[in-house]
Symmetry: C2
Subunit: 197 residues, 2 copies
């Protein structure tokens, strides 16, 4: 296989990139200066070589602790539990959360053979237990899929004996959407979770 | 800037990839095994280091001559002139052309400062001239944009004194499209270029 075909195949393995797009990317890189392509190759290699999970929360980092965990100004009394490390950056972008995180590394999915042992559940429980009451709230921010909900219920049961308040992200109507386009289960959830104004 | 942000920015510089998609690609690479990412980095670097224009036709190649030029079974009496090297593979995929190619490296565009000297026009004329009549037909396959058409007309004028027949790709209704959805200028072109059945 030629070098070009190898690279097309490499790009096409990425999510959301089909063979046509992969070819366009390769031709773009070949049209640009080779330095531009080498820079991209170097950036990919750097990430592969140096990015690893934060030893405390599982977020991506170049160091032992991630930027959030090593920031002394964060509120250590609140933990936000997410499925994947990239969800941390989604929450960080809102700039409305000042606590710490815990990355599970997935969700419970018995059919796929993913139980609590496959996730960073024990590390979460140990973090809460070893804080001796310092962690006062755990926000479960797993997805609203069936597996995400099941994971949330499981974590709630496991965390309750340890003392912290366990909360779940609010579910309801997304900001800016029309009622008539919101699906039924979201609308039902929004109704049952209505708040006094 | 963190290594992750650097890579997101690198991906986002590629055509058709916005910041959101770039982030998704980076997270995918981090979730995959680092070896997978290193393989992609290596493939990009290999292409940047080893792919260059064919010394005869300008097509992409790892060697001095491209696969088409070094294939003795190709019909050397016909040259197909394209704007960009990636258009060669589009024509090759049709499996209905057995001649050779010539890549211009762009199209005439006086407003952007692209004249015949910026393209591989002199090389094309030299190829035809030095063939001593062996090149009997030059197919102009520049795009149907205004610049592509102007380039085709310019090349026709430059090639005519050298003797070969100069042809242009047929313009008309794409296979499988409905007449009512075809734009007016394409329909007019298809009418004026109608063929006896």
């Amino acid at each position: 296989m030629s070098l070009i075909d190898q690279l097309v195949e490499g790009f096409a393995r990425l999510p959301g990139i089909g063979p046509k797009t992969a070819q366009r990317l390769v031709f773009h890189l070949m049209k640009e200066s080779p330095d531009e392509a080498r820079r991209l190759a170097r950036a990919i290699k750097d990430v592969a070589d140096h990015i690893r999970p934060c030893s405390r929360c599982g977020n991506f980092t170049e160091h032992d602790l991630c930027a959030v965990c090593s920031d002394g100004r964060r509120d250590a009394t609140v933990l936000c539990v997410v499925e994947e490390a990239y969800e941390v950056s989604a929450i960080e972008h809102t700039a409305s959360y000042r606590g710490l995180y815990h990355v599970l590394g997935g969700r419970l999915s018995p059919l796929d053979g993913v139980g609590p042992e496959e996730l960073r559940v024990a590390a979460l429980l140990a973090r809460v237990r070893d804080s001796n009451g310092a962690v006062r709230e755990v926000i479960i921010a797993t997805n609203t899929s069936v597996e995400g909900e099941a994971t949330a219920v499981y974590l709630q049961g496991a965390l309750r004996p340890l003392g912290p308040k366990v909360t779940r992200l609010a579910q309801g109507i997304p900001i800016g959407s029309d009622l008539e386009y919101v699906d039924g289960s979201t609308l039902a959830e929004a109704l049952s979770g209505r708040r006094e104004m």
